[in-house]
Symmetry: C2
Subunit: 391 residues, 2 copies
């Protein structure tokens, strides 16, 4: 039997009372001060979409940056006006929750290259007046972090209490610890890695090829025309298989049929798992831009803290933040051994590092759905860091 | 360090001396005696492509049927005229090899629904004079086995010494044991399962959707026109990720770059693993029919010895053959626990069953490349069965 670990819905209603939040925007890297990207290209101006929850205290010591995963956005918690669903990590953020808005000032921004408010390939290139498409420069995880640092500077925050995120968010948190060691007291790295493996690259490459094989992709120049929905849906379907564990898929779907008890002997969606993948693919193409899919997967594939042949322990020797690493037992996309490699290299540098491997059947999705234990670990950890480093 | 387990090339050259073999053909299920398929549809005539190696002995007691995997064919061993590559399981078949052609009469036929000689969706429908396309009936693993039984009958063989195969071949071997218990002395079920799980169905469904999303698929009616190469290549790329283990992919490719030591910051094939997947996808579309891809994956997804709510131990109670089950430690597509479920159910029925879990890094591909231990296990097993059941 699978235990239900989500926080009770009761708690959701009482605490949140459908608090309405709004996304805010700033523009940074205005010419001639464009952002110098890792690729050598320069990009600017850059719009950053972000949200904040809670209040920044007088000495600006209670700010936490939440960094989102691949297809996430700045809307991490609470409700947008008219929405009946809250932000993507709502169960972790709010009064009395791990990212406690009574204590902390929470910031979440959409990443560079996305399509959810921050500048990305679907944005208008000021030089041409048309969407960038593939003329958008290839961006990296460190580039995302540099843009986030601009936002933190804009908010007048010198040192973040923490940077926290799962999956691609965990990669950003790890990059923060290396790139801006003095600007963070801690980092929470969940279900992530310090470098993409061949298999992780392979799954992304197949997704990109699915998008690019769609004639509607048109070399990325599809804005205002038919979009590559079929290819993007296939790419997303592949992703969803890797986000679940074999076991959770079996428990949820098994060989259950959609409509009837007998096989149809045709190519309709017969198995529930087929219908689920179709639903996930179709709903994704309504909300996500195919080029952002291509650019963000590439950014993850490029992610390698040990690039240029450096040793991980050498790279992590600059880390001064306190680090919490969390992985999940059934996550085969970002397996625990990757978290443990970071743990070992941090320990070798005498960094204050804690590691928790949480038992879960949910696979990689666990960081979004396996709340109880994760909430405890994060809550205790933030209280500890605040006590040790700030108060 | 990975141990090299392939049989030495030396052995290949000495034993085989480029023995030339030819595919043969018979036609069965001629109207009005069409084959009654599991779906209720009837199909005939059916051409069967097959090859044989070695000699059938006088009492026809030394015949072994090799059943191939998904994209395999009847050409299991030796060389076709002009080829410089032997058949797909050549290292297992020949003089002094596990399927010893000095002792045994080896038969291998292409499965129903394939595109490699046996009737499938690319074949001409005699009723219309045009390729079947999607008017080809949905076929199942048991339908493949029924067609193989026709071939065995045609060859005048009452009881096979063994039926042996890996992956989809293992499913056929398991189906033989249940469908024709009196017609086989033994079955060798390698890297297979008794029913497809949700994750196995999911990977296949994504592959089918990749094919069907290609506008060139044209509802399966693409013969003589542009074929859905882009979609089929994507489908095959997904497959190849599942055939390798994470570890073998990391050892083979890691983050190695194709051409140079620095990242290109573009969407060319930069990582070796990307180039490998492209190569695999491209070479596949030259040799395989997209509709066969769709039909054969569906046949595997339908495979469930426990269909209609029956218990596996009940289904396997009819088995009288001696069974050898082999799985590989790193095979995450058909994990060992699936083999072990069959083992337990056979043991519960007091069937003579042996199980070997071989240590390998190669993932599901191990049954095609991890030869040394597999060869020993099969060789000893066949000798035992021949001694106990025939001589």
């Amino acid at each position: 039997m699978r235990r239900v670990r989500r926080l009770a819905l009761f708690s959701l209603c009482v605490n949140k009372k459908m608090t309405i939040v709004e996304t805010q925007y700033i523009t940074v890297a205005n010419p001639p001060n464009e952002l110098a990207l890792r690729s050598g290209a320069r990009l600017g101006p850059i719009t950053i979409a972000y949200e904040t929850y809670g209040k920044l205290n007088a000495d600006k010591s209670n700010a936490i940056l939440i960094v989102h995963a691949f297809t996430g956005d700045a809307h991490a918690a609470f409700y947008h006006k008219g929405d009946d669903k809250p932000g993507w990590w709502d169960e972790m953020i709010g009064s009395g929750r791990p990212f406690d808005t009574e204590k902390y000032f929470i910031i979440c921004s959409n990443v560079l290259g996305s399509c959810r408010g921050t500048t990305g390939p679907a944005s208008i290139d000021p030089k041409t007046g048309k969407p960038f498409g593939l003329s958008f420069p290839v961006i990296t995880i460190p580039d995302m972090v540099t843009v986030q640092k601009s936002l933190i500077d804009h908010l007048g925050i010198k040192t973040l209490l923490s940077v926290a995120g799962g999956s691609m968010g965990g990669m950003q948190a790890a990059a923060w610890a290396v790139m801006y060691p003095q600007a963070i007291h801690s980092a929470v790295i969940i279900a992530a890695c310090h470098r993409h493996t061949a298999q992780q690259i392979a799954f992304h490459e197949v997704g990109r090829q699915a998008v690019m094989a769609d004639p509607d992709w048109q070399g990325g120049d599809y804005y205002g025309k038919t979009t590559p929905k079929r290819g993007l849906a296939v790419a997303r379907m592949i992703g969803h298989i890797t986000y679940m564990s074999e076991s959770s898929m079996e428990q949820k779907f098994g060989r259950k049929l959609v409509k009837k008890d007998v096989l149809g002997y045709n190519f309709s969606k017969e198995f529930e798992v087929e219908g689920y993948l179709e639903y996930r693919g179709q709903s994704f193409v309504e909300r996500f831009d195919a080029n952002s899919y291509v650019y963000l997967t590439k950014a993850m594939d490029y992610f390698d803290l040990t690039e240029n042949g450096r040793k991980l322990s050498e790279v992590l020797s600059v880390v001064t933040a306190d680090i919490l690493i969390i992985s999940f037992t059934s996550d085969w996309l970002y397996p625990s051994y990757q978290s443990q490699a970071m743990l070992r290299a941090l320990k070798a540098n005498d960094v204050d590092v804690s590691y928790v491997e949480l038992s879960s059947d949910y696979g990689h999705d666990a960081f979004l759905v396996e709340m109880e234990e994760q909430a405890k670990a994060v809550s205790n950890y933030l209280a500890k860091v605040y006590k040790e480093r700030v108060s």
